[in-house]
Structures are given as structure tokens and as C-alpha cells.
């Protein structure tokens, strides 16, 4: 059975991925997680171990630092949906992406993730190249997941211009996903 904890709001850490974690005091005027985001992260829709106590709900949105712009011109990648290979890959294809990117933090052992994944792909495909989707397996890329404050999975973070603009935890249905994605693109 899944723990009956409150919807978890990820807490974002600043700092480059290679350094030891440290706290950043860089507040941004970004929207706080919406009530919608909280209410959809219901018990049955996300994976969390039952042996854990609920984490406190923190609301600040500290965005990750940008890395330096690439020295070389990059060949434009047409993949709309891809698996993140490592932190450099994440920097290049997510943070430095010209498109808005949805980052799908998931795990092999997570049932709801297997439901959300295809739905998200479908919602992204509908946008015909206006938004990209980066998939991050949290066991393969634990540091990255921890850095973005991922707690329960699935967690989806929307990034635009290297900044986090929105997120949600747990499963959403097709209509909810479509409106989420539209909002991220700015329609």
C-alpha cells in the first residue's frame, strides 16, 4: 500500500551538479506550485515507500544555475522525446534548450510512472515540436533527481529557458496533461 502522505512539493536546490550541495538564496518571481498541482498528487497516483514519514511541504522555487553557453554551435536535435544520458546531456538538451522541455522523473519500480509516461509522450507529440520531453530515470541519475528536489515519482518539471516554470507530482489524465503542456508553451 502507498503511504497516505500529503502531496509533496519538491524543493529545488541551486548549485552546479559537480559541486557539493549548498543552499542558494536566489529567489525568483516564479509561480508557487498551484493548488491544482497539489491536489492531483493523490495517494494512488505516485510511488513512495511506506516506511517513510511525510516530508514537509516547502514552497520556494529556486531555479538551477545555468551553465556557460556552449562554445560550439550545436546541431539542432529533432528528437522531441529523449532519455537523458548524463548531467552534461541534461545541461545541453534541457537547460540550454530553445524549446520548453518537460522533464519526466521516473523509476523502473514505479507503477504510476509507467502509466504517465506514454500519456505524456502523447501530449508532447500533439504539440508537433513545440515542446520537448526529457526522461530521467532517478536511479540512474540520482544526483540530478535529488538536485531538482524529486521526492515522490512520477514528478514532471517544466523548464523554459533553463528555469523551472511549472511542475506536478503523480498521474494526470490526458486532458489535464494537454492543458498543462499548453500552459508551458505559453498558449
Amino acid at each position: 500500500s502507498l503511504s497516505a502522505e500529503k502531496p509533496h512539493v519538491p524543493f529545488f536546490f541551486c548549485g552546479t551538479k559537480t559541486e557539493a550541495l549548498h543552499w542558494s538564496a536566489r529567489p525568483r518571481s516564479r509561480p508557487a506550485p498551484t493548488e491544482e498541482a497539489r491536489s492531483t498528487a493523490s495517494v494512488a497516483s505516485s510511488c513512495y515507500s511506506t516506511s517513510l514519514q511525510s516530508t514537509t511541504t516547502r514552497v520556494s522555487f529556486l531555479s538551477p544555475s545555468r551553465s556557460l553557453p556552449r562554445a560550439l554551435p550545436h546541431t539542432s536535435r529533432r528528437e522531441v522525446s529523449f532519455n537523458v544520458q548524463d548531467s552534461e546531456d541534461f545541461t545541453e538538451r534541457v537547460i540550454n534548450s530553445e524549446l520548453p522541455v518537460l522533464v519526466d522523473f521516473h523509476a523502473q519500480w514505479c507503477g504510476p510512472c509507467k502509466i504517465l509516461g506514454p500519456r505524456l509522450e502523447k501530449a508532447v507529440a500533439k504539440q508537433k515540436g513545440r515542446v520537448a520531453m526529457a526522461k530521467v530515470d532517478i536511479d540512474d541519475h540520482t544526483d540530478l533527481a535529488i538536485e531538482y528536489g524529486v521526492s515522490a515519482v512520477p514528478t514532471v518539471i517544466a523548464m523554459r529557458g533553463g528555469d523551472v516554470v511549472d511542475h506536478f507530482v503523480g498521474i494526470k489524465d490526458d486532458d489535464e496533461l494537454d492543458s498543462f503542456v499548453s500552459k508551458v508553451i505559453g498558449q
Binding site: 515507500s49 517513510l52 516530508t55 514537509t56 523502473q108 519500480w109 535529488i146
Partner: protein
Amino acid sequence: MGSSFHTAIFCDKSSKITFRLLFAQTEIHTYSVFLFYGSMTRIPLAGSQGKYDYDLLVIGGGSGGLACSKEGECIVLCVTGTKWGLGGTCVNVGCIPKKLMHQAALLGTAVKDAKKYGWQIPDTISHDWPTMAEAVQNHVKSLNWGHRVQLQDKKVKYMNLKGSLVDEHTVRGLSKAGKETVLTAKNIVIATGGRPKYPTNIPGAAEHGITNVALECAGFLKGIGLDTTVMVRSIALRGFDQQMASLVTDYMEAHGTRFAWKSVPNRVDKLSSGALQVTWTDTQTGSEHKDTFDSVLWAVGRAPETKALGLDKLGVQLNKETGKIVVGPDESTSVPNIYAFGDIGEGRPELTPTAIKAGKLLAHRLAGQSTELMNYDNVPTTVFTPLEYSCVGLSEEEAEKRHGKDGIEIYHAFYKPLEFTVAERDASQCYIKVVCEQGGNGKILGLHFTGPNAGEVAQGFAMGFQCGATYSHLIQTVGIHPTCAEEVVKVHITKRSGLDATVTGCS
């Protein structure tokens, strides 16, 4: 060491067992190192600032180590050098997968019982090992992740290094890639637990009895349909009440598990067919036996890997027989600023809840917040064999030793769970024993229960035990009906009377 398998169970040649899926851990070193970083946020810690990198360094990422580090008030650094995810023995290869597989076996029995209750179920049902293994491993991985998140939430920095002691204030951490990191700390806590012992030479292997681990494993393997044989050198469940232990093994034997009592293995040979041939001697008759199996698992005890920790160099006193660290009531070792607790402590119960509690209390003491010591008395425990057995307090043997046969009064009862009636199941080994002091209100010295959900039944009684419950308290308690647990508060036949202790009817 660095063994692949955990249990000495011999499986029939006709069984297909892919035990590797769960127990093939080929790594040897699994250490986590946690460090408390002094005075970054709140209370300045008792002790030095600036002389060492950290005030406290914990080596070990299991039940004990995690609890200790998460209890730290300051920024804590956590370092592990393990192939397992966080959580230690309990999460990865112990309590958690054990209980889940035990449940898998119980469900198999329940499905068969269901027919008697009217469910239309096909005559033959089979079990698919890979499905179960994947499900169990998925849960284990979710726990690994959960612990990682908790460390993050508690501001514990996490690094992946194998720790060993250089001197009493210095730990060397080795990364998988071979990179070295040196860390110094005022206090060092060792909570690295144990690893399975592998018989180094099978002829004349070290004297060890069968632990609950072996019986539990044999139990669920048989429960999911694999033919299982258990070889016992001397007695089962050493350290536990022996009458209760024999009820547990009687039940297993009655349900198809084979036991080779008072036998020792001589050799294990691999045949050309790939099967394993085991040769053993029945020490009672002296005769030699041979049989073939698909898998051989050793469950001859666990021991800490103190050599890899470098403890001998530091003069940390170990128990020569067990290899465990000799510890004081405050978890201190022979070296002043080094502490040890959990499975690695000599004489400590090899249980998760005691390790967690001891770890938390130790963290508080070292931070100067309290002086409370861990109370290792009255620890309840459960053996999750097919017929579960739970107990709190003394065994009958131990109570007799301490108080004399005339100093104790034993109340007992054989009962039948209501659920067994329709299912036509044999309840001969369902039994309750309450060992009390003779005279006065009859303080309860030990409480023993075999039956379904024994762990759930005993937890509440453990609290009563903790409060110093007496026989008089017990019989004043009204039972909940119909349950198995109510039979505990209804015990009234003494062993001394010699009367038949079988419960009949509802009285």
C-alpha cells in the same frame, strides 16, 4: 566471504530456483559513512570545533546507521561504499524481502483454503518466481530511493565511498573508481552490520545452529512450491524457547519441508548435469548420505567484516568467537571515541528496531542532548516461518534458570484459529505459553505465541510486558472475539497441573 547466498537450504533436484535474483550480492564491502558537521545551524555540539572535519562520523547505511545520521541536528555527511541501495541488510536482503516472500507463500496457502470457503479455484495453481522477484525488488528499490530522499530532507550529504579506519579520528573513504578521500572526526560510530558466513571448509564447518533466517527461507520456498530440505547441525532456533522452536519445525515437517536433523555437510560437488550433490553425515547414526539439489544455500550465521574496517589496527576489542565488536551499555568500544551498535555489537539482538532506537539515542547522547541509554530488555520478536512464532521476554528455560522450577508458574493453551476450521487445517502447533513468577500477582516473565499473524498479536502484549504486566492483569483483560489473540488473555491451565491444555468451545 563476500558470499552469494544467505541460507543453508537444499532444494530438491526437480525444483527450478533462480535464487540469484534476490540473493546474489557479489560485492564484499558495504559501508556508509555519515558525518555530523558541527554547529552549522543550531546547537553548538559538545566538543571541538575546527580540530576535526566533523564532530561525528558514522560508518554504515543500514537501519542503524541511517537512524543515527538522520537524528543529527546539524548538517550531516553520508558516505556509502555499497552496491546495495540505502537501507542495509533489512531493506535489501533481510526483513523486507523476507516478509514479502513469506506473504507470497501464505497467499498460496490462502488460495487453497479459499476453495473450502466457496471460491471456484482451479485444482492446480502455480507460482511464478520472476514475477514475485521483480515485485519484491521494485519495492526494495523504492525504499532505497525513499531513504535517499530522507537523507536529503534531513540535510545529510550523501557520498558513495567505502570507509575504513586509519586511526581513531580518521576514516579513509574509497570510491568505486579507486579515488581516496580522507575524513577526520571527533567521534566515530560503526554500524556496518553483518554479512553471511560462508563455510570456508565444508568438512568440519564451524559449529552453528540453524537461525530463524534459514527456517523462514525454507518456509517460504516450500510455500511457493519448491521442494526444500533443511539440514540442522544441532538445534533449531538457538537462543529461543525450545518447546516453541519444535512446534515451529513440527509444523514445517507436517507441511512437507524435509529436515536432516543432527547432520553436517561433508562436501558439495557439482555434477555434469549442473546439479549439486551434497554429501552429509548423520551425526547420531554416523551414516553418510548423498542427494542432489538445484541450489544449496548456507544459513550458518552472520558476522561483521571487521578486517576490512581496519579495527584490529586500532585495538578495537572484538569477541573472538563471533568477530563482533565488544560494546558497553552506551555502545562504546574499547577505544574512547569509537562507538558501535546494531548487528555488529556483541550480544546485541540482530533486529532492525533495536538498531534504529539505539542509533537515535546514541546520536542524542553524542550531541550532548541526553544521557538516555538504549534498553535492550523486553524486546519482542517474531519468526516468520509458515507457522509464525512471536515472543517477548524470557524463554521457559531461561526463566527456570533464573527463578528455579518452583519460582515460576507456566500457563499454556493449545488453541485452534477459527479460520482453520472451515479450511480444515491442522492447528496442532498453535500454542500459547505465558511464563510468570510464582506467587503475588504473577509478574509475566515471558510470553510465547505460535499462530497466524503472530507478530501482530504480540506487539500489543509487548507493551503490556514493558509496563510490568502480571498474570492478574492478563486475566482481567477482556478478550476480543473471535480472534486468536484473545486466547492469550484466557490462559488458565498450568503446566504444573498436567491437565489437557486444549481450548474447547468459547469459554
